[in-house]
Symmetry: C2
Subunit: 188 residues, 2 copies
């Protein structure tokens, strides 16, 4: 599974074998079962996760216990409660497994140490965070300007593989509609 991470990093910055040995020394492997929490609301968030396999949802639970899904993640995606991770404060979000999940994880202090030891990793993370920022801006624009029907159709076009694996109730929570309303939408 370290090979996945190497290919993933090398899609942005090339690494020598020695450099990759250094990079991988900062990561630990973790295994999670379906429904297990990788990040738990109200607790400290020790890790940023690179998903080797599996599927997760990043969730905010409001005062009335309603779940709002901020993001899904699967193989080759990174996820955690980044606000909590970078500020080392308690999580306001939860990261829950929708399938058995294998992840490589890195602490914040190891993240800083790795970037200091191998500055090209800063370039890699800059590229990844920039892509995440652009995706967030597209989602904001989509929330401001499109209907739920249009957002559902965008999701089908942009992430067909995700749609196959995520239960419909979770898709509904991501779009902000009830399960029943989602059935009525359907792809046109």
């Amino acid at each position: 599974m370290y090979k996945n991470l190497r290919n993933h990093i090398e899609s942005i910055v090339p690494l020598t074998d020695e450099e990759y040995t250094l990079v991988s020394s900062y990561f630990k492997i973790k295994f999670f079962k379906k429904h297990q929490f990788m990040v738990t609301e109200g607790e400290l968030t020790s890790y940023n996760y690179y998903l080797v396999s599996g599927l997760t949802k990043l969730v905010y639970t409001d005062a009335s216990a309603k779940q709002h899904i901020l993001a899904f993640a699967m193989e080759d995606w990174w996820d955690t409660d980044y606000q909590a991770y970078f500020t080392q404060t308690k999580a306001t979000l939860s990261l829950e497994c929708l399938e058995d999940t294998q992840a490589l994880c890195i602490t914040l202090s190891d993240f800083h140490e790795l970037c200091g030891a191998l500055p090209k990793m800063e370039r890699f993370f800059l590229e990844k965070v920039t892509r995440g920022f652009l995706a967030s801006q597209r989602r904001i624009l989509s929330l401001l300007t499109t209907s739920v029907q249009e957002r559902y159709e965008q999701l089908i076009v942009q992430h067909p593989a995700l749609l196959q694996r995520v239960p419909k109730t979770q898709i509904a929570a991501y779009l902000g509609v009830s399960r029943e309303a989602l059935s009525r939408l359907g792809p046109k």
Copy 2:
């Protein structure tokens, strides 16, 4: 105005005089009048802007000519159509001045060259993009979970200085309500 940029960068990474001379050599000064466009929808976006003074809005105009405001920016903030900037494609957004604005600007090729020449600038930009990403995630969550009334109150608390300077019609376009509906909201 280069002093502003130096203080701004040094709030994250320290620079020697020589390093700062190098950094500033990659930036050009530009002056814009109120209502002038720094980025124009449908045209290429040459620059990422660091605002020395002034106020801007980043706008998406939909098929029915309705304006949706993605972000405001003022002194010490960065802004452009980042999707267009990083992919060197035509802008889908416009960046318009709401006041006379002075900005330091950098092209994408100079951005890459600067990061190559001075890797600590990669750390600076990584920190800035991460903050932008976190702010975007908070806005998504806010759009998913709060009412327009709550979003207006959040804006008053988080950006009081902005509220003083941005016309109410623009605040309404940011919140996604009509000017009349905004008057009825008022701060509680």
